[in-house]
Symmetry: C2
Subunit: 323 residues, 2 copies
């Protein structure tokens, strides 16, 4: 794995736009077709390497009348936007352990516009995740594995998980800071640990950061410096709670001339400001600092923000009570 | 200098609240007395080590009718708030090279509530800065020196400056990221350079970060990890342009039990939300990313924000033209 410096270009870098998927958690995946078409086009022009369209959720478990179509990512809906995807950008979807019917809903890659299936698991559901990786690999897809909420896990268990996933055909293993709880020095040491297994098993390592403590971009570029190469971001940071590493920060930072920030700026001006004005809520805010500092699930903060509360001290006390 | 880890307490740390001073740049220093009284009290309760009240600007150069009193920081105005300052928190003011009449306006410490004079200079005005340090030292104050905008300076010149200031009686030398242009790996290497001189000349090293690229907190704690000990922050990040390292992030991060984040949360709820609602502008926003990425003065972005413009691509082009 290369590391590079602030002036170098690393060919192993892959920028992964997760706006529809993580951002969809903020508006139940109700994006207009125009939004998605323009995002697809803007991402291509910005040099984005993968665009994640949403989840492959099971329609038996989730009522399609209550979510936009990107909760389910039917092949034909993606096809509607990308056609034959005549571009260098690859298409990704996410499949959550326990929330999808992967054997039924994820068929052969030869019939699908999808290139990569990103599998999301907690550390206690690894056997299913392994089965999903093997299924998707057999179907012909690239795969990545997101081991979520590792800031709550024991290092020994994370190492055991990395060893298990190292032996699967998965292409990329992600460091996921679900709670926005990691500080840069922790991310650097996590990156070293994940890269140790990445080198042993020949896997790429990725990072998916959250911005609870205003560290999503810092953690992403610090992981990058250590050798992590798959970098998740979302336009304007749109994502659950405090949101993600902003594409406009990451793409403006990367030195490879294929990355252009202007199309991202366009998308922000044309769409993201209106989404915010319409009341879709995401992004760095005091309540998320407090859950991040406590290494807690952001749900409490999301409810607090949704209720337009500002009694931050009470939230802090509530969080202490939840430990 | 100690470094510590995420669980340790370092006795050399000094948290410096710069809300009135850097924040005053956003509202021409028009804070209500109640704001300042409560900030003083909240800072004490939060464990803040120094509170900067504003500038010592010359009333010959700046019309007192056009600015709030914290642009000038008369001793009697500070006294009005702090009385005899019967607290462990020290009082600081900033004096800008070329914008103050220090020989007239900075008298003996024995007659003043001020403990520390923070002197701000550019690299080309060092002789005046040295004279100011010597004057303030002779008057009995602690002093610090902020060498501003070093992201635009040559390393050789910065080293020469550090050597000059090392030989003065200054107590602390600050790394100042005026343009919010530094990435964490640069801050870490700057910290090492400044600490080299700090160790040689027995000076503390400080950091004053700006949040243009959402890195103010990350850069502050990365500098801290290297051994930097004077840490500037402002409540809710209030400060020029993209603002500063947020007190609520920094104080919530520090492990010394004397630091309490609750009083800062109180101040945000009671005052900062209203300031923002009243139209006082500061904080992370797209235009500041663009000046930060170009290592440019934030003025262009501030004008852009003030004009409520959102044509980000044009700003980016304008910035290219300014190089």
């Amino acid at each position: 794995m290369s590391k590079g410096d602030l002036l170098s270009v690393r060919d192993d870098i892959r920028v992964v736009d997760a706006t529809l998927r993580d951002g969809g958690l903020c508006n139940d995946f109700y994006f207009t077709d125009k939004f998605v078409e323009d995002l697809y086009r803007n991402n291509i022009n910005a040099g984005v390497d993968y665009m994640e369209f949403g989840y492959k959720a099971s329609k038996d478990m989730f009522n399609p009348d209550k979510f936009g179509k990107w909760k389910f990512c039917d092949d034909e809906d993606i096809r509607e936007i990308v056609g034959e995807n005549d571009s260098p950008m690859k298409i990704a979807v996410m499949a959550d352990v326990g929330r999808c019917d992967y054997k039924r809903d994820i068929g052969p890659k030869s019939e699908s516009p999808v290139d990569m299936v990103r599998i999301a698991t907690y550390i206690n559901t690894i056997p299913v995740a392994v089965d999903m990786i093997e299924h998707c690999n057999k179907m012909g897809y690239e795969t990545s594995i997101n081991i979520m909420a590792v800031s709550k896990n024991r290092t020994e268990d994370i190492r055991a998980a990395l060893d298990i996933f190292g032996k699967t055909p998965v292409n990329c293993i992600y460091i996921v800071d679900s709670y926005g709880a990691f500080y840069p020095e922790q991310i650097r040491s996590f990156a070293q640990m994940y890269l140790e297994y990445g080198e042993k098993y020949n896997k790429h390592i990725g990072i998916h950061a959250h911005n609870n403590q205003s560290l999503a971009f810092a953690n992403t570029i610090d992981a990058l410096q250590e050798g992590v190469s798959y970098l998740d971001c979302t336009v304007n940071g749109m994502g659950r709670g405090a949101g993600n590493c902003q594409s406009e920060l990451l793409i403006g930072f990367l030195k490879n001339p294929k990355y252009m920030v202007e199309p991202i700026l366009d998308h922000i001006e044309k769409y993201m400001l209106a989404l915010k004005a319409d009341g879709v809520k995401w992004g760095f805010d005091i309540p998320y600092i407090l859950t991040g500092q406590r290494n807690s699930h952001p749900r409490t903060a999301m409810d607090f923000v949704k209720a337009n509360r500002t009694d931050y001290k009470n939230l802090r006390l509530d969080l202490l009570d939840m430990e």
